[in-house]
């Protein structure tokens, strides 16, 4: 299948995720629980619907999710 990375990325940023999503405040409120569920290998997306979609659509929340996951995940390895 033909790759269309530039258009896909650009359209993704413009049009955002397709499904329902939480907002930034709800994302922040749930982020700690979401990360711990992820690190425990559980289905965080099913437990907190709409948060994964928000992370796909909001670069700032996505960065903070990645940081929290890396920080807490790194501690668990110690």
């Amino acid at each position: 299948m033909m790759e269309r990375p530039d258009v896909k990325q650009a359209l993704g940023r413009l049009l955002g995720p397709a499904g329902p999503e939480v907002g930034c405040d709800e994302c922040f409120d749930q982020l700690d629980r979401y990360v711990e569920l992820e690190l425990a290998g559980k289905d965080a997306n099913a437990a907190i619907p709409g948060l994964r979609a928000h992370l796909a659509g909001c670069p700032a929340c996505r960065e903070e999710h990645e940081s929290l996951r890396a920080l807490v995940g790194g501690e668990q390895l110690l």
Partner: protein, 234 residues
Amino acid sequence: MNALNAATVGLVDPVSALSTLTPAPPSLDAESREWLQSLRGNDTTGQEAIARLHALLLRAARFEVARRRPTLPHLRGDELEDIATEAADDALMSVLRRLDDFRGASRFTTWAYKFALLEAAVKLRKRAWQGREVPLEPEGWGMFSSAGLEPDAEAEQTELLETLQSAIGQVLTPHQRRVLVALAVNGVPIDVLAERLSTNRGALYKTLHDARRKLRKHLQERGLALDTWLEEKR
């Protein structure tokens, strides 16, 4: 002050009902309970717990600074340390103010970390854009080019992109257009734009979300197959 400004719209689109699905939080683990009891103490224990919490938050803030350091080559080490300390100070105030909000859905330390990471990330994004103009108009549509498409695919892409650019100009309100272009086309960080427009992240994301929904609806009504062009992750 919490960088997200929690007084704004909490949910967007039809997700409101989703929050009712959230189960009751589990009981606190022993370590989290100890944190809460210590922080609520009025004696030396309380002061010691606050000092421990600040050290924890400073570690998280430094972690965030270290992750972002490659994007901030012009900042000296002492400036980055100042940012980390300021982020830890602000996060400490947020955590103490919102202590009653913690109900054990995660470990206390995970809950507290997110405040420090947020404060540090917001400060660093703003610092990176300090003194730079925030572009609110398209700087070009060059990113919408894919080389090597077959003629049929290229015609389909051209139609989609022309319709989209037209919709951005005609379907969106001026505010929605400025926000969409700044965030999704020009890559302005949402916290930077929020500061320049005297609003907050939650309100701006709601505007972005509404603009995106309008564009999707417009394209779908014209029979344009978005699935072909988007990597929809479910």
